[in-house]
Each structure stands twice: as structure tokens, then as C-alpha cells.
Symmetry: C2
Subunit: 261 residues, 2 copies
């Protein structure tokens, strides 16, 4: 199954009490199975774009990959809806992570939640990055300008890596976590140093998104949506600046205000 | 950790270039570990409300529970952020499902995606339920009226079971899937016959949401948001009426129009 980012279909539209048959577009959703060293690891449901970045970002967020040096080969097989990742890791480690996921896999993507909290403890992200309010508003406006797929279909989240000059790269996906994992994967694949970078997202700032940023050692998270209590708590503990509700010239700073000048 | 549905905290608000320290509320997020017959099964990240419904709805959606008769006991332990479910299932079945999840667990919640597709195949939902356009608009308006938490925090999804007379019960959660699982769980716990019911949701109609409705044999899914291509395809195959973008007197019918009169 190969799909486009949007799928054309015929729908019934009801407007002002009139019923009409019309051509419409909905956002494409596909299952994508990640194979690690030849073995099925997980099936994600995602938008059919940047599948290599998604695979690598997901495996990094899960703790399976530590650096791009762990990756020996990546092959996308669109006929089989699969990405095959060959890693330098011993089989034991892959199986151990598989087994752990079964026990306490969490919210979005089977994350080993308590293990992650443990692994993060005591190592806050350090960065001297500072950015002004007008620049933050500009960056979020640039994200929205890029979000053409959302405009067409109303069905995706967008995310981007930015520095103070603007957006470096952009992703979108039906899944809030996937859109962020695509950015994480692109950072790994391109060996980007993220200590002075900003992650922009259209989605809510839940604990899992903050954990992804923490693992990458990324100091700044910005969203046009709301954070959650656990997202704020983790960002506070992890030294990450959390900015939400960036809309119409306004924004809220939840943690580590010193980076907003 | 016991949390309220919203958490009060102090934030920095920037508006019209003025920076002020203010009291604000963010939606609470908590980890919740489900234990099945004494063994840890998964940790979900969720809103602290209707935790029994969430646990049962999740385990039903995963295929672990088939009817309320499978449930021997449910105990919520807020000190340990846990729900303990005792079931009549033999240990082998629980372990088999745990193991399967490791291999092809999908998008939202570790669902065995291809197995689910297989298990659904060839058994479309049958229902003679019909509902008028004005009634659909009323139901979605009622859902939005109930969504007070969203208004306060901007951070949750809402979902409800309804019949043609109105909303029967309501849920909200930081997770789109969790909000629906809470409704699924309440249906199981109350032995509700859903053949003539409607599931309302604020969230997008992705494949996983349609799969949850299919498993419950629920014929009608309505959202104010967008569907995805796979959501539409599954609903078409499974005999489920899918209605999206219910907003401002308009709506789109994607599948099985005959139930909208």
C-alpha cells in the first residue's frame, strides 16, 4: 500500500440543510511496521512522509538508539509498509527493551515511562540560548504558514526544529508524537547539535513530548496549544523552557523564563 | 500521587508586550499502571477521572476482555497510580496478548493492528438506527457544552455516548484514545446495548477510534474534527456511519449515509 499525503474521496456534505455529493480530501493514514535487525518491533499509524526520520526518531525516543553511529542501514519498503533498521546493538538489548515495553509501556507509543523518568533524573538540560518574544511569535507564525496539510484536511499536527533565525526543518503527521519523532529522527540522521535550538509544535505539551525533548537535550519547547501538569513538572525538573498558547500576539511561559528575553 | 482534574500553577503571561506573573490552571496528567491478575500490563498517561472505565475500556479495546462477565474485581489505588483488574481469563491468554503487543503494537496504545483488522474482517456492524441532521447538530452542541474542562485549560478531548434523545454519559481526557476508552469501559461496566447508540468525540476519527467502535459493535461515529483515510476505509468496511466536521450547522458524511435522514 502506497498512499499520498492526502486521499481524494467522495463525501456527502450537508450545509444550510442542503445535501450534496462532493469531492473532498482526507489526510492519509498508514500502518508502518518498524523492523529492528530483522525483527518486528512495533507498528505505528502515521502519515506517509519522512518515514526514515519517523523510524529513527521513534527508536531514539524509546532508548534503542543513542547516536547515529548505532545505525548501520535503513531501508523503507513501501510495498510492505515497513522500515527495516539495522543497528550495531546486540540482540539482547533490543529484546530487553521489547520486553520492558510490555510491562509499563505508556501513553502515546509504548514508552517505558518510569524507566524514562529514572534515566532523566538529575541531568537537567543546559543551554545559554535566549530568544525574544517577537521572535517566538514569528517562529510560530512560520510554523502555521507551513502547515498547509492541516489547512487542506484539518487532520494533522505539525512540528519543526528552529533556531533564532527561523525554521530549519519541518514535519507533519496525523500523530502528535509522530510529528515530533520525525524531527527527532532528522536531528539524529543529520547529526544536528540541538543545544541552541527550539522545537515548535502545534500539539499539546504532554509529558511524552517533554521526555522526547529531554532525551535529545533540547532546551526550548514552544506550542500554540496547552501543556499538561506532568509536562510542566518534567520541563521544570529537566531545565527545559516551556512556552504554550502562542496565539495572536500572546504566549504563556510555564518554566525557565530566563531564556525568553 | 493524587491529582485534581486541573492543577493550579503560577505562570508568566505575555500579552501586548506586557509580562505578568499570574495564577493559571493546566489540565492534570497522571501515569496510571494497569495490573491484570496481579501483573503489570501497561502504563497509560491520562486525566485523573473515570479510571475504572478507562482501565476496562482499554483492556476491552485490546481484546483482553470480551464481556463484563470476564471481570471479577476492579480496584483503583490512587496512592500507587494503579488499577488492579482481576479477570476470569487464564494466565496464558494475558501473556499471549502481552507478547503480541510487543511485536506489532500500534499508534495510540499498543494495539495489535493487523490482528485487529483480521479479527474484524467480514463482520460489519448492523443497526437500523437513523438520526436526523438537526439532531446530530444538537448532540454535538451538547458535547461542547459539557466540555468545560477544555474551556478552562485547552488541554483535553471529550467523548460521549448518546442516543437520539441526548447524551447518556460523558468523558474527558488528555488523550483522544483514552476519552473514547472511558466511554467503551462505561458501556461494558453498565452492560449497555450500543446497537442503537452514537459515539460523539471532539477528536479526529483515525483508524484506532473506528476499531474501538467496531469492537463494541457501535454503528455511528460523530466528530467535530477530521477523519483519516484509514478511518474512512475501516468504517466503510465495518458498516459504521462516519460523520465529521460537525461545526456551525454543517457536517460531512463519509460512510453509510443511509443512517442520516
Amino acid at each position: 500500500m502506497v498512499e499520498k499525503i492526502v486521499t481524494d474521496l467522495e463525501i456527502i456534505r450537508i450545509k444550510d440543510n442542503r445535501r450534496s455529493k462532493e469531492e473532498d480530501q482526507v489526510v492519509a493514514e498508514m500502518p508502518l511496521t518498524l523492523f529492528v535487525n530483522g525483527k518486528g518491533f512495533i507498528t505505528l499509524l502515521c502519515s506517509p512522509a519522512k518515514l526514515k526520520c519517523l523510524a529513527i526518531g521513534f527508536l531514539y525516543s524509546e532508548g534503542l538508539l543513542k547516536t547515529s553511529a548505532d545505525i548501520l542501514n535503513i531501508r523503507v519498503d513501501l510495498e510492505r509498509n515497513a522500515v527495516f533498521v539495522e543497528t550495531a546493538l546486540e540482540a539482547g538489548r533490543v529484546e530487553k527493551l521489547s520486553a520492558q515495553r510490555t510491562i509499563t509501556s505508556g501513553g502515546g507509543k509504548g514508552m517505558v515511562f518510569f524507566n524514562v523518568l529514572d534515566s532523566l533524573q538529575g541531568k537537567p538540560v543546559e543551554s545559554s540560548l535566549k530568544i525574544s518574544v517577537p521572535k517566538l511569535l514569528q517562529l510560530m507564525a512560520a510554523l502555521q504558514k507551513r502547515a498547509l496539510l492541516h489547512k487542506a484536511t484539518g487532520g494533522v499536527h505539525s512540528s519543526a526544529l528552529a533556531d533564532r533565525e527561523g525554521i530549519l526543518f519541518y514535519s507533519e503527521d496525523i500523530g502528535r508524537h509522530n510529528a515530533v519523532d520525525k524531527i527527532v529522527g532528522e536531528c539524529i540522521l543529520k547529526n544536528i547539535s540541538v543545544g541552541n535550538k527550539i522545537l515548535l509544535t502545534s500539539g499539546r505539551l504532554t509529558s511524552e513530548i517533554v521526555v522526547k525533548a529531554s532525551k535529545l537535550r533540547l532546551p526550548f519547547l514552544v506550542s500554540r496549544s496547552a501543556p499538561t501538569s506532568l509536562g510542566v513538572r518534567l520541563a521544570a525538573e529537566m531545565g527545559i523552557t516551556l512556552v504554550g498558547f502562542v496565539r495572536g500576539g500572546r504566549l504563556n511561559i510555564y518554566t525557565h523564563e530566563f531564556r525568553v528575553n
